[in-house]
Amino acid sequence: MSGVHVSTTINGDAVEFVCQPGEVLLDVLRNRVGLTGAKEGCGTGDCGACSVTVDGRLVCACLVLGAEVEGRAVNTVEGMANGNQLHPLQQKFIEHAALQCGICTPGFLVAAKALLDRNSDPTEEQIRYALAGNLCRCTGYDKIVRAVQAAAKDLAVDATKPAAKKKATKKPSKKSA
Protein backbone atom coordinates (compact mmCIF):
# COMPACT_ATOMS: atom_id res chain seq x y z
CA MET A 1 0.00 0.00 0.00
CA SER A 2 1.52 3.30 -0.95
CA GLY A 3 0.63 6.76 0.24
CA VAL A 4 -1.36 9.35 -1.65
CA HIS A 5 0.09 12.83 -1.81
CA VAL A 6 -2.58 15.48 -1.27
CA SER A 7 -2.42 19.27 -1.62
CA THR A 8 -5.35 21.04 -0.09
CA THR A 9 -6.46 24.09 1.87
CA ILE A 10 -7.38 23.79 5.52
CA ASN A 11 -8.87 26.79 7.30
CA GLY A 12 -7.43 28.97 4.56
CA ASP A 13 -3.90 27.61 4.80
CA ALA A 14 -2.24 25.56 2.08
CA VAL A 15 -1.52 22.11 3.52
CA GLU A 16 0.14 19.05 2.05
CA PHE A 17 0.05 15.57 3.46
CA VAL A 18 0.58 11.98 2.50
CA CYS A 19 -2.10 9.52 3.58
CA GLN A 20 -3.08 5.93 2.97
CA PRO A 21 -5.66 5.41 0.20
CA GLY A 22 -8.29 4.19 2.66
CA GLU A 23 -7.52 6.73 5.38
CA VAL A 24 -10.40 9.02 6.29
CA LEU A 25 -10.13 12.79 6.47
CA LEU A 26 -10.83 12.71 10.22
CA ASP A 27 -7.71 10.62 10.86
CA VAL A 28 -5.71 12.86 8.55
CA LEU A 29 -6.81 15.98 10.40
CA ARG A 30 -6.25 14.50 13.84
CA ASN A 31 -3.15 12.39 13.30
CA ARG A 32 -1.31 14.03 10.41
CA VAL A 33 -2.29 17.70 10.46
CA GLY A 34 -2.55 18.07 14.24
CA LEU A 35 -6.10 19.42 14.28
CA THR A 36 -7.92 17.49 17.02
CA GLY A 37 -10.97 19.75 17.23
CA ALA A 38 -13.02 17.34 15.13
CA LYS A 39 -13.80 14.31 17.31
CA GLU A 40 -14.53 10.69 16.53
CA GLY A 41 -17.72 9.71 18.31
CA CYS A 42 -18.74 6.83 16.06
CA GLY A 43 -16.70 6.64 12.86
CA THR A 44 -19.84 5.81 10.90
CA GLY A 45 -21.46 9.19 10.25
CA ASP A 46 -24.08 8.78 12.96
CA CYS A 47 -22.99 11.36 15.56
CA GLY A 48 -21.63 14.42 13.75
CA ALA A 49 -18.81 15.04 16.24
CA CYS A 50 -16.37 15.15 13.31
CA SER A 51 -18.35 17.70 11.29
CA VAL A 52 -16.24 19.85 8.98
CA THR A 53 -16.97 21.52 5.67
CA VAL A 54 -15.44 20.61 2.32
CA ASP A 55 -15.88 23.30 -0.31
CA GLY A 56 -18.53 24.81 1.93
CA ARG A 57 -20.57 21.61 2.26
CA LEU A 58 -21.11 20.14 5.71
CA VAL A 59 -19.73 16.60 5.97
CA CYS A 60 -18.65 14.03 8.51
CA ALA A 61 -14.87 13.88 8.27
CA CYS A 62 -15.07 10.18 9.14
CA LEU A 63 -16.93 9.54 5.88
CA VAL A 64 -14.56 11.37 3.54
CA LEU A 65 -11.27 9.95 2.38
CA GLY A 66 -8.22 12.12 2.93
CA ALA A 67 -7.36 11.56 -0.73
CA GLU A 68 -10.65 13.14 -1.80
CA VAL A 69 -9.80 16.63 -0.56
CA GLU A 70 -7.07 17.23 -3.17
CA GLY A 71 -7.58 20.80 -4.33
CA ARG A 72 -10.58 21.36 -2.09
CA ALA A 73 -11.09 23.75 0.83
CA VAL A 74 -11.58 22.15 4.23
CA ASN A 75 -12.83 24.14 7.21
CA THR A 76 -12.84 22.94 10.81
CA VAL A 77 -13.80 24.37 14.19
CA GLU A 78 -10.23 25.61 14.56
CA GLY A 79 -10.89 28.02 11.72
CA MET A 80 -14.13 29.48 13.02
CA ALA A 81 -12.89 32.38 15.10
CA ASN A 82 -11.57 35.43 13.31
CA GLY A 83 -8.28 35.97 15.07
CA ASN A 84 -9.09 36.67 18.70
CA GLN A 85 -12.72 37.41 17.81
CA LEU A 86 -14.94 34.43 18.51
CA HIS A 87 -17.62 33.65 15.93
CA PRO A 88 -21.04 34.69 17.30
CA LEU A 89 -21.97 31.02 17.53
CA GLN A 90 -18.94 30.30 19.70
CA GLN A 91 -19.78 33.30 21.84
CA LYS A 92 -23.43 32.33 22.23
CA PHE A 93 -22.60 28.72 23.05
CA ILE A 94 -20.58 29.96 26.03
CA GLU A 95 -23.15 32.56 27.09
CA HIS A 96 -26.09 30.17 26.87
CA ALA A 97 -24.32 27.25 28.57
CA ALA A 98 -24.91 25.27 25.39
CA LEU A 99 -22.20 22.81 26.29
CA GLN A 100 -21.63 20.56 29.23
CA CYS A 101 -18.91 18.04 28.46
CA GLY A 102 -18.13 19.81 25.20
CA ILE A 103 -17.13 16.80 23.08
CA CYS A 104 -19.95 17.41 20.60
CA THR A 105 -19.45 21.19 20.60
CA PRO A 106 -17.01 21.50 17.67
CA GLY A 107 -19.35 19.47 15.48
CA PHE A 108 -22.40 21.47 16.54
CA LEU A 109 -20.63 24.75 15.88
CA VAL A 110 -19.54 23.71 12.39
CA ALA A 111 -23.01 22.34 11.58
CA ALA A 112 -24.77 25.41 12.99
CA LYS A 113 -22.51 27.69 10.98
CA ALA A 114 -23.31 25.70 7.83
CA LEU A 115 -27.00 26.20 8.61
CA LEU A 116 -26.75 29.95 9.25
CA ASP A 117 -24.58 30.42 6.16
CA ARG A 118 -27.47 29.25 3.99
CA ASN A 119 -30.42 30.28 6.15
CA SER A 120 -29.81 33.33 8.30
CA ASP A 121 -33.17 33.22 10.01
CA PRO A 122 -34.09 29.60 10.68
CA THR A 123 -37.15 28.54 12.67
CA GLU A 124 -36.74 26.38 15.75
CA GLU A 125 -37.84 23.39 13.71
CA GLN A 126 -35.33 24.12 10.97
CA ILE A 127 -32.57 24.40 13.55
CA ARG A 128 -33.57 21.12 15.16
CA TYR A 129 -33.63 19.22 11.87
CA ALA A 130 -30.43 20.83 10.62
CA LEU A 131 -28.67 19.71 13.79
CA ALA A 132 -30.24 16.24 13.89
CA GLY A 133 -26.99 14.76 12.58
CA ASN A 134 -25.16 15.96 15.66
CA LEU A 135 -25.69 13.94 18.80
CA CYS A 136 -25.42 15.53 22.23
CA ARG A 137 -25.95 13.37 25.29
CA CYS A 138 -25.55 16.07 27.96
CA THR A 139 -27.86 18.98 27.25
CA GLY A 140 -31.12 17.67 25.84
CA TYR A 141 -30.36 20.21 23.04
CA ASP A 142 -32.40 22.94 24.74
CA LYS A 143 -29.59 25.41 25.32
CA ILE A 144 -27.90 24.52 22.03
CA VAL A 145 -30.99 25.50 20.05
CA ARG A 146 -31.31 28.70 22.07
CA ALA A 147 -27.66 29.57 21.45
CA VAL A 148 -28.11 29.08 17.70
CA GLN A 149 -31.21 31.28 17.77
CA ALA A 150 -29.29 33.97 19.66
CA ALA A 151 -26.35 33.76 17.26
CA ALA A 152 -28.69 34.07 14.27
CA LYS A 153 -30.12 37.23 15.83
CA ASP A 154 -26.64 38.57 16.46
CA LEU A 155 -25.55 37.87 12.90
CA ALA A 156 -28.69 39.57 11.59
CA VAL A 157 -27.80 42.67 13.59
CA ASP A 158 -24.26 42.49 12.22
CA ALA A 159 -25.60 42.22 8.70
CA THR A 160 -27.62 45.42 9.04
CA LYS A 161 -24.54 47.43 9.99
CA PRO A 162 -21.76 45.90 7.95
CA ALA A 163 -19.23 48.63 8.74
CA ALA A 164 -19.60 48.52 12.50
CA LYS A 165 -17.11 46.28 14.22
CA LYS A 166 -19.00 44.35 16.78
CA LYS A 167 -17.67 44.14 20.28
CA ALA A 168 -17.90 40.91 22.19
CA THR A 169 -21.42 40.92 23.55
CA LYS A 170 -21.92 41.01 27.27
CA LYS A 171 -23.85 38.26 28.81
CA PRO A 172 -27.48 39.21 29.30
CA SER A 173 -28.46 39.04 32.93
CA LYS A 174 -31.05 36.36 33.34
CA LYS A 175 -33.38 35.97 36.21
CA SER A 176 -32.62 33.07 38.45
CA ALA A 177 -35.34 30.46 38.10
Binding site: P21, G22, G45, G48, L58, E70, G133
Partner: protein, 285 residues
Protein backbone atom coordinates in the same frame (compact mmCIF):
# COMPACT_ATOMS: atom_id res chain seq x y z
CA UNK B 1 -5.37 -0.66 -2.03
CA UNK B 2 -5.24 2.27 -4.45
CA UNK B 3 -7.27 5.45 -4.73
CA UNK B 4 -8.04 6.68 -8.25
CA UNK B 5 -10.03 9.70 -9.33
CA UNK B 6 -10.53 9.38 -13.09
CA UNK B 7 -12.00 12.28 -15.06
CA UNK B 8 -13.91 10.28 -17.67
CA UNK B 9 -16.45 7.49 -17.44
CA UNK B 10 -14.31 5.50 -19.86
CA UNK B 11 -11.32 5.64 -17.53
CA UNK B 12 -13.50 4.68 -14.58
CA UNK B 13 -14.80 1.64 -16.46
CA UNK B 14 -11.26 0.72 -17.48
CA UNK B 15 -10.06 0.88 -13.86
CA UNK B 16 -12.96 -1.26 -12.65
CA UNK B 17 -12.56 -3.76 -15.48
CA UNK B 18 -8.88 -4.28 -14.78
CA UNK B 19 -9.48 -5.35 -11.18
CA UNK B 20 -12.08 -7.95 -12.14
CA UNK B 21 -14.68 -7.03 -9.56
CA UNK B 22 -12.25 -6.05 -6.83
CA UNK B 23 -12.80 -2.38 -7.45
CA UNK B 24 -15.27 -0.24 -5.55
CA UNK B 25 -16.94 2.86 -6.90
CA UNK B 26 -16.80 5.79 -4.52
CA UNK B 27 -19.51 8.39 -4.99
CA UNK B 28 -20.65 9.87 -1.67
CA UNK B 29 -18.96 7.18 0.37
CA UNK B 30 -21.55 7.17 3.12
CA UNK B 31 -22.06 3.43 2.78
CA UNK B 32 -18.71 2.39 1.29
CA UNK B 33 -16.52 4.02 3.95
CA UNK B 34 -18.55 2.43 6.75
CA UNK B 35 -18.06 -0.98 5.15
CA UNK B 36 -14.38 -0.24 4.56
CA UNK B 37 -13.89 0.73 8.20
CA UNK B 38 -15.70 -2.38 9.39
CA UNK B 39 -13.45 -4.54 7.24
CA UNK B 40 -16.42 -5.83 5.23
CA UNK B 41 -14.81 -4.84 1.93
CA UNK B 42 -11.15 -4.84 0.98
CA UNK B 43 -11.06 -3.42 -2.54
CA UNK B 44 -7.96 -3.34 -4.69
CA UNK B 45 -8.93 0.03 -6.04
CA UNK B 46 -11.34 2.74 -4.97
CA UNK B 47 -12.61 4.61 -8.02
CA UNK B 48 -13.79 8.08 -7.03
CA UNK B 49 -16.26 9.24 -9.68
CA UNK B 50 -16.70 12.76 -8.34
CA UNK B 51 -14.09 14.19 -10.71
CA UNK B 52 -15.99 13.03 -13.80
CA UNK B 53 -17.78 16.13 -15.19
CA UNK B 54 -20.47 14.07 -16.96
CA UNK B 55 -21.58 12.63 -13.63
CA UNK B 56 -21.81 15.89 -11.75
CA UNK B 57 -24.93 17.48 -13.22
CA UNK B 58 -28.70 17.32 -13.13
CA UNK B 59 -29.98 18.13 -16.60
CA UNK B 60 -33.39 18.57 -18.13
CA UNK B 61 -33.64 16.49 -21.28
CA UNK B 62 -36.22 16.09 -23.98
CA UNK B 63 -37.48 12.97 -22.27
CA UNK B 64 -37.30 14.22 -18.70
CA UNK B 65 -34.37 14.50 -16.29
CA UNK B 66 -30.91 13.04 -16.08
CA UNK B 67 -29.22 12.84 -12.69
CA UNK B 68 -25.46 12.24 -12.76
CA UNK B 69 -24.19 9.49 -10.50
CA UNK B 70 -21.98 11.84 -8.50
CA UNK B 71 -24.70 14.40 -7.76
CA UNK B 72 -25.29 14.61 -4.01
CA UNK B 73 -28.79 14.41 -2.61
CA UNK B 74 -28.35 17.92 -1.21
CA UNK B 75 -27.85 19.14 -4.79
CA UNK B 76 -31.05 17.38 -5.86
CA UNK B 77 -32.90 19.31 -3.18
CA UNK B 78 -31.49 22.54 -4.56
CA UNK B 79 -32.74 21.85 -8.10
CA UNK B 80 -36.10 23.56 -8.28
CA UNK B 81 -37.14 22.14 -11.68
CA UNK B 82 -36.54 18.58 -10.50
CA UNK B 83 -38.25 19.27 -7.20
CA UNK B 84 -41.28 20.62 -8.99
CA UNK B 85 -41.56 17.69 -11.38
CA UNK B 86 -40.66 14.88 -8.97
CA UNK B 87 -41.18 16.12 -5.40
CA UNK B 88 -41.52 12.55 -4.11
CA UNK B 89 -38.20 11.43 -5.54
CA UNK B 90 -36.45 14.49 -4.19
CA UNK B 91 -38.01 14.21 -0.74
CA UNK B 92 -37.00 10.56 -0.61
CA UNK B 93 -33.43 11.44 -1.56
CA UNK B 94 -33.42 14.22 1.01
CA UNK B 95 -34.50 11.86 3.78
CA UNK B 96 -31.27 9.88 3.63
CA UNK B 97 -29.26 10.65 6.77
CA UNK B 98 -28.31 13.99 8.23
CA UNK B 99 -27.32 17.22 6.49
CA UNK B 100 -23.76 15.91 6.72
CA UNK B 101 -24.74 12.76 4.83
CA UNK B 102 -26.86 14.75 2.37
CA UNK B 103 -23.77 16.65 1.25
CA UNK B 104 -22.24 13.37 0.14
CA UNK B 105 -24.81 10.68 -0.54
CA UNK B 106 -26.16 10.01 -4.01
CA UNK B 107 -29.24 8.22 -5.30
CA UNK B 108 -27.05 5.95 -7.41
CA UNK B 109 -25.02 5.01 -4.34
CA UNK B 110 -28.25 4.46 -2.44
CA UNK B 111 -29.40 2.16 -5.25
CA UNK B 112 -26.13 0.26 -5.62
CA UNK B 113 -25.78 -0.30 -1.89
CA UNK B 114 -28.76 -2.58 -2.53
CA UNK B 115 -30.42 -2.26 0.84
CA UNK B 116 -34.15 -3.04 0.83
CA UNK B 117 -34.53 0.00 3.10
CA UNK B 118 -32.89 2.49 0.73
CA UNK B 119 -35.02 5.62 0.87
CA UNK B 120 -34.67 6.86 -2.67
CA UNK B 121 -35.39 3.54 -4.35
CA UNK B 122 -39.14 3.09 -3.76
CA UNK B 123 -39.68 6.65 -4.95
CA UNK B 124 -37.55 6.05 -8.05
CA UNK B 125 -39.30 2.76 -8.78
CA UNK B 126 -42.67 4.45 -8.45
CA UNK B 127 -41.38 7.18 -10.78
CA UNK B 128 -40.33 4.67 -13.45
CA UNK B 129 -36.73 5.80 -13.13
CA UNK B 130 -34.10 4.08 -15.24
CA UNK B 131 -30.41 3.55 -14.65
CA UNK B 132 -27.89 4.20 -17.41
CA UNK B 133 -25.29 1.49 -16.98
CA UNK B 134 -21.86 1.79 -18.58
CA UNK B 135 -19.45 -1.09 -18.83
CA UNK B 136 -16.70 -2.60 -20.93
CA UNK B 137 -19.33 -3.68 -23.47
CA UNK B 138 -20.94 -0.26 -23.72
CA UNK B 139 -24.06 1.38 -22.43
CA UNK B 140 -27.40 -0.13 -21.44
CA UNK B 141 -30.48 1.29 -19.77
CA UNK B 142 -32.36 -0.71 -17.14
CA UNK B 143 -35.36 0.01 -14.95
CA UNK B 144 -34.22 0.88 -11.42
CA UNK B 145 -36.11 -2.07 -9.96
CA UNK B 146 -33.96 -4.43 -12.05
CA UNK B 147 -30.67 -3.13 -10.63
CA UNK B 148 -31.03 -4.73 -7.22
CA UNK B 149 -30.90 -8.52 -6.97
CA UNK B 150 -31.16 -8.88 -3.20
CA UNK B 151 -29.77 -7.42 0.01
CA UNK B 152 -26.29 -6.12 -0.85
CA UNK B 153 -26.41 -7.58 -4.37
CA UNK B 154 -26.86 -5.83 -7.71
CA UNK B 155 -27.23 -7.11 -11.25
CA UNK B 156 -24.30 -5.01 -12.41
CA UNK B 157 -21.59 -7.04 -14.09
CA UNK B 158 -17.87 -6.77 -13.41
CA UNK B 159 -16.56 -3.46 -14.68
CA UNK B 160 -20.01 -1.87 -14.91
CA UNK B 161 -21.10 1.25 -13.15
CA UNK B 162 -24.16 3.47 -13.25
CA UNK B 163 -23.48 6.76 -14.97
CA UNK B 164 -26.83 8.39 -14.38
CA UNK B 165 -30.48 7.99 -13.49
CA UNK B 166 -33.19 9.18 -15.83
CA UNK B 167 -36.65 10.27 -14.85
CA UNK B 168 -39.44 10.65 -17.39
CA UNK B 169 -41.00 14.02 -18.15
CA UNK B 170 -44.13 14.73 -16.15
CA UNK B 171 -47.38 14.90 -18.01
CA UNK B 172 -50.63 16.62 -17.10
CA UNK B 173 -51.86 16.34 -13.57
CA UNK B 174 -49.24 14.17 -11.92
CA UNK B 175 -47.78 13.90 -8.47
CA UNK B 176 -45.57 11.65 -6.41
CA UNK B 177 -44.76 11.22 -2.74
CA UNK B 178 -42.58 9.13 -0.48
CA UNK B 179 -43.04 8.33 3.20
CA UNK B 180 -41.02 6.14 5.49
CA UNK B 181 -41.43 5.08 9.07
CA UNK B 182 -38.54 5.64 11.48
CA UNK B 183 -38.63 5.51 15.29
CA UNK B 184 -36.91 8.87 15.68
CA UNK B 185 -37.54 11.98 13.61
CA UNK B 186 -34.18 11.71 11.84
CA UNK B 187 -31.06 9.59 11.39
CA UNK B 188 -32.73 6.18 11.23
CA UNK B 189 -32.95 3.59 8.51
CA UNK B 190 -36.49 3.10 7.22
CA UNK B 191 -38.41 0.42 9.10
CA UNK B 192 -40.75 0.37 6.14
CA UNK B 193 -41.58 2.85 3.41
CA UNK B 194 -43.81 3.62 0.47
CA UNK B 195 -43.43 5.58 -2.74
CA UNK B 196 -46.46 6.47 -4.83
CA UNK B 197 -46.62 8.17 -8.21
CA UNK B 198 -49.86 8.90 -9.99
CA UNK B 199 -51.41 10.78 -12.86
CA UNK B 200 -54.97 12.03 -12.81
CA UNK B 201 -57.41 11.81 -15.66
CA UNK B 202 -60.72 13.54 -16.15
CA UNK B 203 -62.57 14.67 -13.02
CA UNK B 204 -59.69 13.99 -10.71
CA UNK B 205 -59.85 10.24 -11.17
CA UNK B 206 -56.55 8.39 -10.90
CA UNK B 207 -55.61 7.30 -14.41
CA UNK B 208 -52.15 5.88 -13.83
CA UNK B 209 -50.40 4.84 -10.66
CA UNK B 210 -47.34 3.06 -9.39
CA UNK B 211 -46.84 2.00 -5.79
CA UNK B 212 -43.52 0.71 -4.43
CA UNK B 213 -42.66 -0.44 -0.91
CA UNK B 214 -39.34 -0.47 0.89
CA UNK B 215 -37.94 -2.59 3.73
CA UNK B 216 -40.72 -5.16 3.54
CA UNK B 217 -38.96 -7.71 1.32
CA UNK B 218 -35.42 -8.58 0.18
CA UNK B 219 -35.70 -5.86 -2.45
CA UNK B 220 -37.94 -2.87 -2.98
CA UNK B 221 -41.23 -4.20 -4.34
CA UNK B 222 -43.44 -2.70 -6.97
CA UNK B 223 -47.05 -3.52 -6.10
CA UNK B 224 -49.23 -3.44 -9.22
CA UNK B 225 -52.25 -4.65 -7.22
CA UNK B 226 -51.98 -1.59 -4.98
CA UNK B 227 -51.88 0.66 -8.02
CA UNK B 228 -54.84 -1.16 -9.51
CA UNK B 229 -56.82 -0.58 -6.33
CA UNK B 230 -56.67 3.19 -6.75
CA UNK B 231 -56.79 3.52 -10.53
CA UNK B 232 -60.21 4.74 -11.56
CA UNK B 233 -60.92 6.17 -8.09
CA UNK B 234 -60.61 9.50 -6.36
CA UNK B 235 -58.91 7.84 -3.43
CA UNK B 236 -62.08 7.22 -1.49
CA UNK B 237 -61.77 5.28 1.75
CA UNK B 238 -62.66 1.95 0.13
CA UNK B 239 -60.02 2.41 -2.55
CA UNK B 240 -57.39 3.34 0.02
CA UNK B 241 -58.33 0.36 2.18
CA UNK B 242 -58.06 -1.95 -0.84
CA UNK B 243 -54.71 -0.40 -1.67
CA UNK B 244 -53.45 -0.91 1.89
CA UNK B 245 -54.63 -4.51 1.80
CA UNK B 246 -52.77 -5.06 -1.49
CA UNK B 247 -49.64 -3.55 0.06
CA UNK B 248 -49.90 -5.78 3.12
CA UNK B 249 -50.30 -8.80 0.86
CA UNK B 250 -47.14 -7.86 -1.02
CA UNK B 251 -45.05 -7.65 2.17
CA UNK B 252 -42.56 -10.35 2.98
CA UNK B 253 -40.48 -8.72 5.70
CA UNK B 254 -38.25 -10.00 8.50
CA UNK B 255 -38.10 -9.47 12.25
CA UNK B 256 -34.97 -7.57 13.16
CA UNK B 257 -33.58 -4.87 15.41
CA UNK B 258 -35.53 -2.27 13.47
CA UNK B 259 -38.99 -3.76 13.44
CA UNK B 260 -41.21 -6.80 13.42
CA UNK B 261 -42.94 -8.59 10.56
CA UNK B 262 -46.29 -7.57 11.97
CA UNK B 263 -45.34 -3.93 12.39
CA UNK B 264 -43.72 -3.57 8.98
CA UNK B 265 -46.64 -5.18 7.22
CA UNK B 266 -49.28 -3.07 8.88
CA UNK B 267 -47.43 0.23 8.71
CA UNK B 268 -46.42 -0.27 5.04
CA UNK B 269 -50.12 -0.13 4.20
CA UNK B 270 -50.62 2.95 6.37
CA UNK B 271 -47.73 4.75 4.70
CA UNK B 272 -48.89 3.83 1.20
CA UNK B 273 -52.32 5.32 1.96
CA UNK B 274 -50.82 8.51 3.33
CA UNK B 275 -48.31 8.82 0.47
CA UNK B 276 -51.09 8.29 -2.08
CA UNK B 277 -53.08 11.13 -0.55
CA UNK B 278 -50.11 13.47 -0.73
CA UNK B 279 -49.34 12.46 -4.32
CA UNK B 280 -52.99 12.97 -5.22
CA UNK B 281 -52.98 16.42 -3.72
CA UNK B 282 -49.74 17.29 -5.51
CA UNK B 283 -51.29 16.14 -8.76
CA UNK B 284 -54.00 18.69 -8.21
CA UNK B 285 -56.70 16.25 -7.18
Amino acid sequence: MRYEAPTTTKDAVALLSKTKGKGQVLAGGSDLLVRLKGGFVEPEVIVDIKRIPAMQAVSKTASGFKIGAAVSCAQLGENSALKKAWPGVVEAANLIGSDQIQSRCTVVGNLCNASPAADSVPAMVAAKAKAVVVGPKGKRTVPVEDVVAGPGKTTLKAGELIESITLPARKGKSGDAYLRFIPRTEMDIAVCSAGVSLTLGKGGVVAEARVALGAVAPTVVLVPAAAKAIIGTKLDDDALAAMAAACEAACNPIDDKRGTVEFRTEVAGVLAKRAAKIAYQRAGG
